[in-house]
Symmetry: C2
DNA sequence: CGGTAAGCTGACGGCATGACAGGACAAGTG
DNA sequence: CACTTGTCCTGTCATGCCGTCAGCTTACCG
């Protein structure tokens, strides 16, 4: 997948180089968690990593470029989201279980990577194709699995024919992502995390199967 | 509501001052539509408005402050979203109509103000209380109406008792907002706008009533 | 017409950006 | 061990934006 890691000016990075590069990425990641995206400066990241701005520019064209790199790593790691739906059933009690575990896993993944996902979301919303494709890559596994589930139920005649599986799946995934991004919002809105999850699972189950879950 | 408009150093703004102030806001708004938030610079906004950076700083503490102002104006205008749900029924064919019109109105509002809403969303997700409250203010009308509708149906025994109306309403609103933000994403994902709307309406109807709509 | 406050800008120190050349360092070679 | 090679890092510099201030112009009012 990833060929050789290269510097901006074309040299191949050796062991030491890759270490500093990664350190810069880690520091940037940390920085994104603690300050607004707009205020993250190259010089701060470099200082935090105990190096100089010039070094940063040796490995990345700019902050955006480095963010893309971090997001790429996260996307690879996020392939585990597929497991949340692989071979699961949407029928009866098992369906309710599936919905719950999907919500659980999704929210946790999002919370763990919230800072970087915020930026990816922004970039995608602003129309940047690179961020946009990355967002797809991350959500694709879940999205496809959900769409398949809907399509399958539709083939069995248990879901209306005028339902568009891709549209429903995409909307549900967008919902999960949005709720995860604004989890704190809900809490001060009188809804606790523990209460939020089952209600989300209910909505997912309703969306996929068109029916209330049997608990 | 709005007291007197004041400059940063405390002077009250007169007719001319308010005009330039508004012009700066308009130019900033335009700028946000055409370039990434991170790259919007005070000097560009000032140039576009035919004035100097110093003038900008006379009226706003920084870019963020000006964005808040624009968002505040939009929030006031967005009160019209309430009408989408005021006195509507969720029963039978009327319910389907209600869901469709809600989706329609919501998506249009979001599309019309997408640039500024992106920034508000980011600020809220980053934990900035000012943006966060603003986002609530905008979504509150729809959110409350939806929660009321769910609670009402619940009181009639047509919705399960363990459903949390606020959680469901919040999730649905978050879904609408997220889908609206990434409308372009869906289109290149094989789902056309026209197809998207009825599927969203279906999900909203399912979420509120727990049942498929009668069309 | 003179006073007062609003409105605007040129100019400036400070800082971030991004490029380059050259020094420091590790590893291999004779 | 000296020497070479290629990687790695940083000092430095030109450029450009930030945010502030003093001071000039304009509008209003008695």
């Amino acid at each position: 997948m990833t060929g050789q890691v290269r510097t901006v000016d074309g040299r191949v990075a050796g062991r030491r180089g890759q270490a500093t590069r990664q350190k810069l990425l880690d520091c940037l990641s940390e920085m994104l968690s603690s300050s607004p995206y707009r205020d993250v400066k190259v010089i701060d990241v470099a200082r935090k990593a105990g190096t100089s701005p010039a070094t940063f520019y040796q490995y990345f064209p700019d902050v955006e470029g480095a963010v893309l790199e971090i997001a790429e790593q996260m996307a690879a790691e996020g392939a585990t989201l597929t497991e949340l739906l692989q071979g699961r059933s949407w029928a009866g009690k098992a369906g309710w279980q599936t919905a719950q575990e999907l919500v659980d896993g999704f929210l946790e993944f999002w919370r763990k990577n919230d800072a970087i996902l915020r930026v990816v979301d922004l970039g995608a919303a602003e129309g940047d194709k690179r961020f946009y494709k990355l967002r797809m890559k991350i959500l694709n596994s879940v999205n496809n699995s959900l769409a398949d589930a809907v399509a399958e139920l539709q083939a069995k005649g248990r879901v209306d024919k005028d339902v568009n599986p891709a549209a429903v799946a995409g909307s549900l995934v967008a919902m999960l992502a949005a709720v995860a991004s604004h989890q704190k919002g809900f809490s001060s809105w009188g809804v606790k995390q523990a209460e939020l999850k089952p209600n989300l699972a209910l909505l997912v189950h309703l969306g996929v199967t068109g029916r209330k879950p049997t608990k």
